[in-house]
Symmetry: C2
Subunit: 498 residues, 2 copies
Amino acid sequence: MTKEQALSVIAQKLEAIQSLITAITLMGWDAQTLGVPEKSLAARGAAEGWLAGEAFSRFIAEDTLEAIETLESFDSELTERERAMVREMGREYRKNKAVPPEEMQAYHALTAQAQQIWEKAREASDFAMIQPYYEKIFDFQRRLCDWYGYEKHPYDALLDDYEKGATVEALDVFFALMREKITPLVKKIVQGGKQPREIKGTFPVTKQRELTPWLCAFAGYDMSRGKIGEVEHPFCNTVNRNDVRITTKYHEDNPLSSIFSVIHEAGHAIYEQNMDEELRKYDLDNEASMAVHESQSRMLENMIGRSRAFTGILLPKLNELFGGFEDWSGEDLFRAINIARPSLIRIEADELTYCLHIIVRYELEKALIAGEIKVCDLPGLWADKYEELLGIRPPNDAKGVLQDVHWSDGLVGYFPTYAVGTAYGAQFMHAMRKTVDVDAATAKGDLSPVTEWLKQNIHCHGAMYTPGELLRRATGEPFNPAYYVEYLSKKHTELYQL
Amino acid sequence: MTKEQALSVIAQKLEAIQSLITAITLMGWDAQTLGVPEKSLAARGAAEGWLAGEAFSRFIAEDTLEAIETLESFDSELTERERAMVREMGREYRKNKAVPPEEMQAYHALTAQAQQIWEKAREASDFAMIQPYYEKIFDFQRRLCDWYGYEKHPYDALLDDYEKGATVEALDVFFALMREKITPLVKKIVQGGKQPREIKGTFPVTKQRELTPWLCAFAGYDMSRGKIGEVEHPFCNTVNRNDVRITTKYHEDNPLSSIFSVIHEAGHAIYEQNMDEELRKYDLDNEASMAVHESQSRMLENMIGRSRAFTGILLPKLNELFGGFEDWSGEDLFRAINIARPSLIRIEADELTYCLHIIVRYELEKALIAGEIKVCDLPGLWADKYEELLGIRPPNDAKGVLQDVHWSDGLVGYFPTYAVGTAYGAQFMHAMRKTVDVDAATAKGDLSPVTEWLKQNIHCHGAMYTPGELLRRATGEPFNPAYYVEYLSKKHTELYQL
C-alpha cells in the first residue's frame, strides 16, 4: 500500500463512518427529544444496532490496520494533521482489536440487561438485585485492563481509555489534594458558615424560555448553527460543527436549574462549533478528551456563570422577567447561586462538594479493579466514604451506591473525568486571566474576549493534541490541580465569610 | 443458489436496507420539522447521499438478481408472501437495472440543479429560465420509456412506474368521463349555484392545537404509535408501522385548513399503522401503490370529513373552542367546507375541481412524451387548458405552468396518481357502504366500523397485491371511475341546489 492508497482507504472509511454516525446521532436526538413509541423500540433498536455495527465493522476491517501501519511507516512525510489522525486512529483500532469480539458482544448483552435491572434495583433500593451483574461487569473490566495493557496499576488502563494519559499515580495526587483542602472547608461551612438567602417562588416556564436565547448569546453559542430542545436530562448533541444542539429542562419552582444547565451545555456547544472546519477530513473534529469537554462546560457554568460579575447582569434580567427580586442585591444573588451543602446525590451537588462525590467513586473503582475489595462490599464502603468525606450517610442504597447508571452501563474509569475536567477548567482560566479581563467581559455581557481565547487555545484544535499536550500549549505547564483547589478555596472562604 | 440461500441473501439485504431507510426517514423528519442550519446542509446532504447510495448499491448488487431468479425458479414452492416479495423486488430490480447508471447519475445531477432553478423561475415568473432543464428532463423521460419498455403508448411506461398497471388507454377513458361530467357541473356552479356562507374570524393556534388529538382519535390514528409535528407543508412520515408521524400547519384565519389536513394525513397514517406486522420481513410493509395511499387520505378527508354527518359533530366542537358559530346550522357548515370554485393553483383546489387540474397535467405530459408538443409550447397550452376546463386563465406563468415542483424534480407520470387515488377512494367507499353504515358511524364520532373495513380489505395487505388485484378483492370489480363521477355529481348538484 502506498501512502496515497492508505490515505484513500481511510478517506473512504471516514465518509462511510461519519455518514453512519450522523444518522445515529440524529436518531438519538429524535429519541431523546420526542421519545420512541413503546412498540417501535425493537425495530428502532435493530436499525440503530445495524448502523453502529456497520460503522464498527468498516473501522475494524483488516485494511484499516494496513492503512494505519502504512501511514505510520511514512511518519516523517505526513502533515501534522495526518499524523494526529493516524495517532488517534491507531490508538482506537488497537484498543478495539485487543478485545476478543465474542467477549465484547457478550459484554454488550450483559450491560443491556444490567441497565434494566439497575433501574429496578434503584427503585426497590435493593443492591442484591444488581450485585451479580456488577460482579460480571467488574470481572470483565479487570480482564479489559490486561487486554488494553498498563504499566503500573491495572486501573490505569481504564482511566486512559476515557482520559488519554490519566494514571492512578497522578489522580492519587490530585484527589489527595482535594481531600486535604476541600473536606475541611465543607466541614467549616456546615458548622459555621453564614447561610445565604434562597430563591423561592413560581417562575413560569414560558418566561424562563425567553431567557434561554439571551443566555446562549451570552455564552457565544451560535443558534443559527444549532437548536434548543427540552428534555428530562439536559445534554449537548453534535451532528456536525454547524449543527450543534443543546437541551434544557425548565423547573417552575426554580429558574436557576435551567439557567445554569443552558450555560453548561452552551459551554460544550461552543467547543464543538469552534473546531476548525478542516478537521473533519481527518476525523479530528472531536474533543481532545472527555475531561477537556467537561472543562469547557464547567468553566462557563461555574467559573463564569456563578461569578459576581454575572449575577450583576442576571439580577436585572430576573427582575424584569419574573419580578420579586427588587429587594435583592447582586451579592445576595451571588451567594444564592453558590450555596454549598453536603448532599447525597452527585448530579445535584454544588460546585464545591461535587469533587468529593467523585473521590468516593474513584477510590471504590480503583480498589475493585485492584482486587482489594469485592462488589458485595460496595454499599457499606460507599456509605462510609460519604460519611468520611461529606459528613452524611445515605439512608438507603437508592440514595447511595445505586444512584449512578455508569456501572450498569459498563463504564468503569469514567467518573474521574468529571473532576479532572473541572480542574483543567481552573487551569485554563488561570492562564486566560493573564491576558483576558474575564470579569469585565462578563459584567458587560459580552464574553467574546473569553470565547476567542478558548477558540484559539482549545476549541479550534479539536482532537489534534492529547489533553496533556493541549494543556501545555494553552497554559504553559502540565496538569496542575492546584489552580482548582485554590479557586474553590478562595471563592468559598469569601462567600461564607470563614 | 438454493431457495434457502436466496431467502437468506434477501433477508440480509433487507436488514441493511431497512436500517438505512429508517435512518434516512428520521433524518428527513428532523430536517422537515426542525430545519437544517444553512451551513450544515452540505455535510448533512453528503451523509444522506451516502446512506441512500449504500442502500441502492446493496439492492442493485449481482447477488440480489441471482436470489430473485432463484426464487422465481422455485415459484410453486413459495408462500404467498414470498411470491409477492419476489414480484415486487424483481420489478424494482429490473426497472433500476434497465437504466444505464451513468445516465441515472447525470439525471440526478440535472434535477438537483433544476429544482433550484425552478424556485427562481417561479419567483420571477420566467418560464424561459427553466425551459432548457425541462427539455433535458423530458428528453430523459422519453428515453426512460424505452428502457422500461411499454406495449402501446410510451407514456404507459412512466404511468406504470408510479401506478402499477396504469395505461394511457385506461386513463383516457377515466379523464374523458371526468371532462364530460365535471366540467359542465363547475360551469353551472359558477353561473348560478347558490353561494355558501364562509367562515371568517381569528382562530387562536393554541385552541386549534386542542382540536388535533380529537380529530386523530376520530380518524383512528393511534397517537401512541406516532407523533404530530408542525410544518409548512403537511405530510405523513413512516419510520415503521409502530411509529407513523403526521404533521399539520395551523392558520390563524382559517381553522379548516388544519382540520382537513389532519384528517387527510391521518388517513395516510392509519394505512401504515394497520399493515400486518409480519409484512416487514418480506419488504411488503408498503402501500399497494401511491394512488391507493392517496385513496385512503382523500376518502377520509373528503368523503367522510366533508360529509354532512361529520359537520354535525364538528360544529359543536368549533363553537365550544372558538365561539361565534351560534347562528350557524350544520347545513351552513356542511356547505362552507365544500365550497367549489375554479382556481388556478392545484394544491389549493377544492374536491370538485381538483381533478380538472390533473387533467391539464396528464394531457400535457402525454403529448410531450409522444412528441406531439414541445416544451416551449407548455405555457400557452397550459393557459389554454385552464381556460377550457376551469374557465379561468393564469395571469402569468408563476400561477400557471410554473406552480408545481414535480417536473423539475424529475417526476413525470406522477400527477395522475392523485386523481386515480381519489377515484379508487370512491370505489372503495361504494363497496364499503354495502356492509357499513358510514354516515351513522361518522355522526357518532366513532369511525371504528369504517377503519375496521379499511384495515381488513386494504390496510393489512400492504403491498401484497397490485392495485388492480386489491381493487378486485376489496370491491369485486376492476377500476371503475363511474363511482367517483357519480359521487362528485350527486354531492355538488345537491350542495349548490342545481
